[in-house]
């Protein structure tokens, strides 16, 4: 069974028969977490760094933003028995258009928002594939915690 994480969406699972996938990350970020002991995995696909730009949309769609989505992803995994100190953390996406600078570089800002939140909460990134000008599709298998990335124009690669 394949659980699909849409844009501004999140899924967690402890079902070893399942994989979780999100398609076509551009400047959005796909955050994948996995606890190998209890075999609990989760994935978040957020679009923007900061929910303060629109509180109403953040209330309706908390997974749209880094600051409102990331804590919810971790809490949902904890509810299935995952523990923070065992969590493997993988980050993909945050791509940018050529010459995209400063404030208009949403991809970089999306990544910085995550880094800031992780620094404050002492979360380490295990591996990442961020930035550049490519589109990425990410998948995790719950049984093994194996993560696969497909970049636009090439095949799926296990990381």
């Amino acid at each position: 069974m394949k659980q699909i994480v849409g844009v501004a969406d999140m899924k967690v699972s402890n079902n070893p028969g399942e994989s979780i996938i999100t398609y076509s990350l551009g400047s959005c970020i796909g955050l994948v977490i996995y606890d190998p002991v209890v075999k609990v995995g989760g994935m978040l696909h957020y679009m923007l760094p900061d929910s303060s730009i629109d509180k109403n949309k953040a209330a309706a769609r908390p997974y749209m933003f880094a600051d409102s989505g990331i804590p919810r992803l971790f809490k949902s995994a904890y509810q299935l028995g995952a523990a923070k100190q065992r969590m493997k953390v993988y980050v993909a996406g945050g791509a940018e258009i050529l010459d995209q600078q400063g404030f208009f570089n949403i991809g970089k800002r999306n990544y910085m928002a995550l880094k800031k939140l992780f620094f404050k909460n002492k979360v380490m990134i295990s591996q990442q594939d961020v930035g550049g000008n490519v589109n990425r599709t990410v998948r995790i298998e719950i049984a093994t915690g194996d993560i696969y990335v497909k970049t636009s124009g090439s095949g799926e690669v296990k990381i």
Partner: protein
């Protein structure tokens, strides 16, 4: 290099966008047109009319009584929505299918096109720009050059990816270098052959703003910005990825801030359901 003659004969073999689209734009963006004028243009094309009515009667709109004419549809949904539906229906056949040379599977380009058009509508609305239907349609059909160019891009894939990955070319610049023409120029040629207005031809030609002086043209700038936002959002993006140039100047010319840009993205996030629904019904 590809000969222009070859391209022209290939364009002649394409499934064209029905003429009703161009006629509809001419009346829809004319402030002197009445609703009856607009309805009449749509009714003139029975295939588009049937398709619009079928969509209006789908569960998505939840109508209590069947919608039996374009006039009914206008009364129930409003003129703007009926125009957009007719334009979307006009584009769906030409822009469906796969374009393997760009790494686009069946339906990817169509998804990207509809998403771009909806983003362009948001940009036009936020800035209260003139010619909103022209902007919407240009965003919808701007990549049609890819339909013809894809096989040449496929043949030149190594050269193009070398230029993009190692020599700092944008994908469009690499197309031009490797093939002598890029998808924006070819799209403009197709629009011209299909008798779209000079305005539409011009927007399509400049939709990546390779000529930066065009950013003062608000319709071009809006379509360009919507395309950038769509690339960043990622749905339906091919192997060209985000390898196009971002021009800060556009943001200044349009008077759009980074916060505006984020708000447009957030609004689109809420509208995603609409995109999916439109895609399924097209």
């Amino acid at each position: 290099m590809i000969s222009l003659q070859d391209l022209v004969s290939e364009v002649k073999n394409l499934q064209p966008i029905p003429a009703v689209a161009g006629q509809l734009l001419a009346v829809a963006d004319n402030p002197d047109s009445s609703m009856a004028d607009i309805a009449q243009v749509i009714q003139y094309d029975p295939v588009i009319t049937a398709s619009v009515l079928r969509t209006c009667n789908s569960a998505y709109f939840g109508m209590k009584h069947p919608v039996e004419s374009i006039k009914d549809a206008v009364n129930l949904l409003g003129i703007d929505q009926v125009i957009e539906l007719a334009l979307i229906k006009s584009g769906s056949r030409a822009l469906g299918g796969s374009q393997k040379g760009y790494g686009l599977e069946e339906g990817d380009m169509w998804k990207y096109s509809v998403s771009s058009a909806i983003l362009a509508r948001q940009v036009a609305g936020r800035l209260a720009l003139k010619g909103k239907n022209t902007i919407f349609t240009a965003a919808l059909i701007k990549d049609m050059g890819k339909i013809v160019l894809e096989k040449y891009v496929s043949d030149a894939a190594h050269k193009i990816s070398d230029l993009v990955e190692n020599k700092h070319f944008s994908f469009q610049e690499a197309e031009k270098k490797a093939l002598g023409i890029d998808h924006a120029e070819l799209g403009a040629l197709i629009a011209k052959m299909w008798k779209f207005s000079p305005r539409m031809v011009n927007i399509i030609r400049h939709h990546h703003l390779s000529d930066e002086t065009k950013s003062t043209d608000q319709q071009i700038a809006a379509v360009y910005l919507a395309d950038c936002l769509c690339m960043m959002l990622g749905g339906g993006v091919g192997s060209d990825g985000l390898a196009y140039r971002f021009k800060d100047q556009v943001m200044k010319d349009l008077g759009i801030s980074a916060v505006d840009m984020s708000l447009i993205i957030a609004e689109f996030g809420i509208n995603m359901q609409e995109v999916e629904t439109l895609l399924q019904m097209a």
